[in-house]
Subunit: 342 residues, 2 copies
């Protein structure tokens, strides 16, 4: 199941957990110096390597429409660079919707797993399983001293980026974000806002990930992120409760109004959706609202991204038709009714 289709541990604070491994094949230059023939060879080799065993879905990513590519980015299946790049490239998706192997992103291979809630170990295990499978079939570039060789030196070593997508309205409200950013930087972690790309924290969604890949093991990286995340979860819950206690009625009113608008508005733009999502998701965690779940709201957020809306709904094009389809999708998913085309 996709990360936005199932619940998960500490879902009140953690939206999803992700692990990404960068890998390259010996005997081929890095991506920007590859000719199209070599690219096609690499795609074929990775496809073959995963052909046996459990099911994978292969997609010639370059042949997809722009809408489909951006929609995949909005679902967090692929990176923005991969979605918006050019030239031959492919995407292999595990049938259970938790793993995405980008072929010819920045590196020859990028294994990415994404699991619901706080589940870094599970995401890591899944990534490692695919890595092992590829390693047994392909000659992966690895140096005894440096570790995995990658296109960008910042990925050298483990080639791993582990991350958690956190919902942090309490911390954001407390104004402690800047200091959190500094603290995390000192221990080799980074935090960035996810409401819109790298924009302000209207949606209170933040991705926290490791920056260091050299001189550490994968296990150490995951363990450290798990440890820090556990502390942040507690901090967020405390601040959320404190914010609530400071003025229960005013916060309840804000939450209920946002819920009312979600149920009744007929035109909703992306920026407002982030705000409504944030209010209502907070309301669910505080027990103010009990007729919707956090994962349902996460699903709404994904299903209401611009390209996803265009992909999943007939006749959606311009801003107005997107806002209309977004409002309809919110209402449909809040009521628990079955979804349209997809």
């Amino acid at each position: 199941m996709k990360w936005y289709e199932s619940c998960g541990k500490d879902r009140d604070v953690i939206v999803s957990s992700r692990v990404r491994l960068a890998r390259n094949i010996v005997d081929y230059p890095f991506g920007d110096r590859l000719d199209d023939a070599s690219k096609k060879e690499i795609i074929a080799k990775v496809k073959d390597a995963l052909a046996d065993g459990k099911e994978y879905v292969f997609r010639d990513f370059a042949s997809l429409s722009e809408t489909e590519r951006i929609a995949a980015e909005e679902e967090h299946a692929v990176s923005p660079e991969f979605a918006r790049g050019s030239g031959p490239r492919a995407l292999i998706e595990s049938a259970d919707g938790t793993a995405f192997i980008m072929i010819l992103e920045e590196d020859h291979i990028r294994i990415q797993t994404i699991t619901p809630g706080f589940s870094l170990d599970e995401a890591f295990d899944k990534a490692r399983e695919i890595d092992g499978k590829l390693d047994s079939k392909l000659n992966i570039a690895y140096d005894e001293k440096l570790g995995y060789l990658t296109h960008c030196p910042t990925n050298l070593g483990t080639g791993m980026r582990a991350s958690v997508m956190m919902f942090l309205p309490g911390i954001a409200h407390s104004g402690d974000l800047r200091s959190l950013q500094n603290q995390l930087g000192k221990i080799g972690l980074t935090i960035r806002g996810m409401a819109g790309e790298g924009s302000s924290a209207d949606g209170c969604l933040f991705q926290i990930s490791n920056q260091v890949t050299l001189g550490v093991s994968e296990e150490e990286t995951v363990a450290k992120l798990v440890q820090i995340t556990e502390r942040l979860i507690e901090q967020e819950r405390t601040l959320r409760r404190k914010m609530y206690e400071a003025d229960r009625e005013a916060l309840t009113d804000r939450i209920m109004r946002s819920y009312g608008v979600m149920l009744y508005a007929t035109l909703v733009d992306t920026q407002e959706l982030f705000r409504l999502y944030s209010d209502v998701r907070l309301g669910v965690s505080l027990g103010v609202i009990d007729c919707v779940t956090a994962e349902r709201l996460d699903r709404i957020l994904v299903k209401c991204m611009p390209a996803v809306l265009i992909r999943d709904n007939d006749g959606v094009r311009d801003a107005r038709s997107r806002d209309r389809a977004r409002a309809e999708t919110i209402r449909r998913l809040l009521s628990g009714a079955p979804e349209g085309k997809k």
Copy 2:
């Protein structure tokens, strides 16, 4: 039935119709030169004059609490001057809730009738009936040349003010209010905003009334107001439809959001209520919303006025508790559930 408890003709545009007759008793000076003993005599005489026939409820208005007095003003049962004045005065209310006789407002007697929707003739008939009853028992000050003698010269003649409370979102939106004001002035009518006292037209409620009382008959006054009101009703409907057609989706969105906020907000202040009321009442008239009626919304507006809320709900005092009770009252009345104390 009170004007906000029943439907009425052209209720999409006309909230209520009102007629007020100013009368004074011969042998007593006007109000500001009356001593308390004379005031009590006048109160007793008027009370006696209405004692027979159909039922009236007598209230020693001066002994009411400030909350009860202001609440009566908010329900349009009495004038602001009467509610906020001092000294002996009384209110006689017809048992059917359509007539209110203020004793010792500016004049000795002010007969006021208020009926739902566009029903000026009905309001006039009711006022005339009470007037006849009083005239048969009391020596009413009347001059062959001047007509009824009143405290203020602007009421000399008929002593009558006929008015309609109109809901005019279309005209307000069109920006033609100023020109309407000028036009009405030229034919002896006046218009004033009613959202809050004389404030801006956030709520789109306007009272249109005659200014001239001298040299015209009561019938002429009512006939002219009826004629102009009929034209305004048509104009308002046309402009409302035009506003809707200009951007159906955007207006529908605004209406549905306001309805959602009414159903879900837990704190609502008076100013916002006027805005929500206006949006939803417009939505009802356009057929965008069909699960609530105009008179139900009018009832909500009255029942959510500050003093009415304090009078009708236990424990309501400060602004926060009023905003809370207002939100609860809106939800309760929208759902059609029975009301609290009253």
